[in-house]
Point group: none
Chain length 265, copies 2
């Protein structure tokens, strides 16, 4: 899907912005860059410096003389635009654009162009009117003009997320919603029984060090339960906490409880 | 909500990136910028040029010497990070982060810091381990390092969308299942400074009871940081944990540390 998305920059003045666009595209897995009549040198030292490793994408950029040429083979042309124009046009948010992509870019002949205008003046009305739709990045109405590269980055990011969603839909994630840590965690979660043994041990230690009086509990154990259960300790963390309790018992001059031995991490 | 979001840049080399960050922030309605030991001149001509009208935001940026200072009053600290680290840490997508914000940033004492590292090397492990969670911008695994400004732009954009959603939805947002605490929680969250005092106190106690040897740390403190940061302790829980440590110190025959008195719940 991402290989069918073209970034088109019209009349760019600053070569650094062309290089920065190449980097932002490569970061998001886009590869097709077309420049329409750039006003600066597209392969200057500044452009290459800002490309920061996306050199081959920059070198492979096509340069043409007109928007027509740049988007001739595209089945969807979307212009990046400020919100208000004299003639209202179909307007998408970046997110809504992303959500449309999987359906838009299915066939072998499909291709989308995302068109960005000049740093100082954006797209002309004539250019905007060659687009199927306009996309506006929500922003501070008093300061709404984004830098060209950061605008490319935001839209490329939404394209990347839309593509990721298609990949994940094919291989459903096993990650549970309520899990504070996901499948890449380094240790399996502690069991309910482990947690209950920990709470019993914790309560013994708190009594031994005169911090907790079961006769006036003041919700102490309830609050500690809520805290530790919320954290969803893994098995290694459980062993560390149990080991700490055992060490504390020894220093508090008590004999460790029967099931609390050998719990050091 | 947006006024309670702080962007923290650590050790930024290129003044243009500081100016570009100011512009990206103002575009998205953010105003609070803190610089930790910038390596370049934060108000250079290049910075002002890239700020492109966000001059007053740039001029109002606070400069401090440490991450500690930058985030001491924050109740949620999120570090921008590449995906893989030796010790896995709670990881959010930019979207999931945005979705959490309306519940995170409700109270008058709430404040979130989004922390960005150096252009060349990002955040150190020590810096990452001071964060409640990390946020990773989905990207091309073969070319995943975004430009600093475009990374700020993407995260600021997600914050802006989350804020817009609160403006547009009259009904309160639904609390996520894995949310450690939301609008109905009974105590305000502990600040970063509270948590750091707790970790320092915890480490002293673990050394005193011979459980922890700083000469062979075996990631012990890192694992404990990860556990407690994940749980997002509230102020009452923090007092309980500090009180427990003080009681343990007394029983271990040590004099409690200077700032650990009067911490019983």
């Amino acid at each position: 899907m991402l290989e069918r998305i073209r970034i088109v920059l019209i009349g760019t003045s600053h070569p650094g912005n062309i290089g920065g666009t190449a980097r932002a595209m490569k970061n998001m897995g886009l590869t097709d860059l077309t420049l329409v009549s750039p006003r600066g040198e597209a392969r200057s030292a500044d452009a290459i410096s800002r490309a920061s490793g996306a050199d081959e994408l920059l070198a492979g950029a096509r340069t043409v003389d007109s928007l027509e040429e740049a988007v001739a083979d595209c089945t969807l042309v979307v212009g990046a635009s400020a919100r208000s124009r004299t003639l209202p046009w179909p307007m998408l948010t970046p997110r809504a654009l992303g959500e449309r992509l999987p359906n838009e870019l299915t066939g072998p002949e499909t291709r989308m162009a995302l068109v960005f205008g000049r740093e100082d003046s954006g797209l002309t009305n004539a250019e905007l009117q060659r687009c199927h739709a306009h996309v506006h990045i929500p922003s501070n109405p008093d300061f709404s003009s984004l830098n060209l590269v950061t605008a490319v980055q935001v839209l490329a990011y939404e394209c990347h997320l839309a593509w990721l969603a298609t990949q994940q839909a094919e291989t459903p994630s096993t990650q549970e919603e309520h899990q504070p840590f996901g499948i890449e965690w380094d240790n399996p979660p502690a069991s309910h029984a482990d947690l209950e043994r920990f709470f019993a041990h914790l309560e013994r230690v708190l009594i031994a060090i005169d911090f907790h009086d079961p006769a006036t509990p003041r919700q102490l154990m309830a609050r500690l339960r809520r805290l530790y259960l919320r954290a969803r300790p893994d098995q290694m963390e459980m062993n560390i906490l149990r080991g700490m309790l055992t060490a504390m018992e020894k220093h508090a001059g008590r004999t460790p409880g029967a099931d609390s031995g050998d719990m050091h991490p």
